[in-house]
C-alpha cells in the first residue's frame, strides 16, 4: 500500500508527457482551437474536481455553478485591489468555506435530497448576491479587466487540472480515500467500522468545491463583465454532471474521457447546424445513451449503487439494520 505500484508510475510518466505536449499547444495554434481547448480544459478541471467528491460518495452534486460563481466573484470583487495570485487564494478559501457550510447543512441529506439542495444553491447565491447589491449599493455587473490572453487562461487551467489530478491521486492513497470507498459501498457499514462519514464527506466536498472555485476565478477575465446570472449559471452544473457521467467516475481520468468527446461533438454540432443545434444535440445524446450502453453505464454502474447486489435479497429489511 505504501509503495507506488509500477502501473501507476507508468501512468504518471504518460501523464507528465501528455501535460508537456498540451502545454505547448498555444504555441502552435491560437484563435478558435485555443478557445475550444480552453473550454475543454475548463471542464476537464471542473469535472475531475466534481468527481473527486461525487464519484466515491455517489452523491450527485449540482453545486458546481455555485462554486464556480463564488470563484468568479472572488476575482471580480477584488481585481482592482489585489494581485491575481491572491485572488486565486481567496477563491480557494471561499470555495472551501462555502462547501463546508453546505456540507454541514446537508449532512443528513442523502441521494436525491442532496441533489436538489445543491441544484438550488447556485440560484440562491446568485439571488443573494443580487439582493445584497440591490440593497447595499454597488453595481450588479463588475468589470474584470486584465491583460490575460486565452493562452494564459489555458495554461492556468492546465495547471489546475494537473493539481486536481495529483490531489485525487493522493487522496486515493490516503485514509480519506479508503474511507470514501467504504462510504460509497455502504454507508451503514462505514459508520460501524468507525468512519466518520460526515467529516469525510465535508472535507472532500470542500476540496472539490475549492478547485471548482479556482476554475471560476481563472475564467473571470474571460467574462470581462461579471453578472450573477452568468457566474451562477445552473447549466454549468448540469453540463459537469453529464460530461462526468458520460466518462465515468470510477477512475480519476474517467471524467476526462467524457469531457473531450462531449465538448468536441457538441461543438461540431453547434458549428455545423446552428439552427438545429438543440434537436441534433438531443438526438446525439439519446444515441450516445442507447448505442453505448456500456461506455456510459458500464463504468457508472456503481455511481448510484445501493448496498449489495439485488440478487441476494429483494428487499433490504432496513428496520433490522438500524438505519
Amino acid at each position: 500500500m505504501m509503495n507506488i505500484p509500477r502501473k501507476e508510475l507508468l501512468a504518471l510518466g504518460a501523464g507528465l508527457a501528455g501535460v508537456a505536449v498540451l502545454a505547448f499547444l498555444p504555441l502552435v495554434t491560437e484563435g478558435f482551437w485555443l478557445s475550444l481547448s480552453v473550454n475543454i480544459m475548463l471542464y476537464a478541471a471542473i469535472c475531475t474536481a466534481w468527481a473527486l467528491f461525487s464519484g466515491p460518495t455517489h452523491l450527485v452534486s449540482l453545486a458546481s455553478a455555485a462554486f464556480f460563481g463564488v470563484g468568479t466573484y472572488s476575482v471580480a470583487i477584488f481585481i482592482d485591489v489585489l494581485p491575481f495570485p491572491a485572488l486565486i487564494l481567496i477563491a480557494v478559501v471561499a470555495g472551501a468555506l462555502l462547501a463546508t457550510l453546505v456540507g454541514l447543512a446537508t449532512l443528513r441529506l442523502s441521494g436525491v435530497y442532496f441533489v436538489i439542495f445543491t441544484l438550488g444553491l447556485a440560484e440562491l447565491l446568485g439571488q443573494i448576491v443580487t439582493w445584497v447589491q440591490t440593497n447595499f449599493g454597488g453595481t450588479i455587473g463588475l468589470y474584470v479587466f486584465t491583460d490575460f490572453t486565452e493562452t494564459h487562461l489555458y495554461w492556468m487551467l492546465l495547471a489546475l487540472t494537473v493539481v486536481v489530478f495529483v490531489t485525487g491521486w493522493l487522496i486515493n492513497r490516503s485514509r480519506l480515500g479508503l474511507a470514501l470507498r467504504i462510504i460509497g459501498n455502504d454507508e451503514a457499514v462505514a459508520r460501524h467500522v468507525g468512519v466518520d462519514t460526515a467529516r469525510t464527506r465535508v472535507i472532500l466536498f470542500a476540496v472539490s468545491g475549492a478547485f471548482i472555485a479556482v476554475a471560476g476565478a481563472i475564467m473571470a477575465p474571460r467574462y470581462g463583465y461579471i453578472t450573477p446570472d452568468a457566474a451562477f449559471n445552473p447549466m454549468t452544473s448540469f453540463l459537469v454532471v453529464i460530461m462526468a457521467l458520460l466518462g465515468g467516475t470510477r477512475r480519476l481520468w474517467g471524467p476526462l474521457v467524457g469531457v473531450v468527446p462531449f465538448t468536441v461533438v457538441m461543438d461540431f454540432i453547434s458549428g455545423h447546424f446552428p439552427n438545429q443545434t438543440a434537436v441534433i444535440m438531443g438526438l446525439a445524446f439519446l444515441a450516445i445513451v442507447y448505442v453505448l450502453p456500456d461506455g456510459v453505464t458500464g463504468q457508472l454502474e456503481t455511481l448510484f449503487r445501493r448496498r449489495r447486489s439485488i440478487d441476494k435479497s429483494l428487499l433490504a429489511a432496513s428496520a433490522e439494520e438500524g438505519r
Partner: protein, 243 residues
Amino acid sequence: MSVPLLTINRVRKAFGGLVAVNDVSFEVAKGELLGLIGPNGSGKTTMLNLISGALSPTSGNILLSGQNIAGRPAHKLARIGVARTFQLVRVLPSMSALENVIAGAVFGHNRLWGAEALALARVLLERVGLKGREEVPVAAMTYIDQKRIELARALAGNPHVLLLDEWLAGLNPSELRVGIELIREISEQGRTIIMVEHVMDAIRSLCSRCVVMNSGTKIADGRSADVLADPDVVRAYLGDDHA
C-alpha cells in the same frame, strides 16, 4: 464477576408508540460470550443497534468500562471498541476480501495503516478460513464466505465488544459446525461477545449465559441450561417439544 465490561442500565427504546426495548438491564463481563435470544420482534436487533450506536436510546445508560456510551454515534463507538455484524449480511461489494477487512483495521479501535493493516487483514482472513481468496471481489462470494468476511472485518478493529446478529442464520448444518467452531475460537482468545441467535444448537454449545427478551422486556437471565429450561422461555420462545 468483577467489574463488568458492558453494563446495560434500564435502557428503553420507543418507536412512536411501540416500545421495542423496555427498560432492559444486564451486564456482560470481560471475556464472556453472552447469548441474546427471544422471539421475533422481541427487540434483540434493536438492543444491538443501541449498543453499537446505530440508534440512540430513549432513556437509560449503556456503560462500556464504566464510561457512558449511550447515544454516541456509531463511528465513535467503533473507535472506542464496539464492532458488529448485521442480521442481513453487509459486505462492501465493490471491494476485495482483503480490502473489506482492511476497512475494519484502519478505522476501528485498532486504527492501523499501511503494512500493519494489511498484515492483520491477512491473518484474520486466514483465521476465518479464507486464506488464498484475499483478492476475490466479495460480490462474487457465497453467502457463508461473505459472513466470514463480515466477521473478519469486525475483528480487524480489535473491539472490546463484538456483536453478532444472527451470524449463523442461513448456514446449512455442516457450515454451521464450522461457524460455531470459529466463534468458539474467537471467544476463547478472550474476546467479549454478544450473540443474537435463533439456532439453539449454537446457543447451547457456545454460550454459558443467556439473556432472553420477550416483547421488549427481559424475561430471563442466567446459565443457558437453566434459562432454556425456564417454562416462560419455553412457552414464549422454544415451543414445547424443545423442553
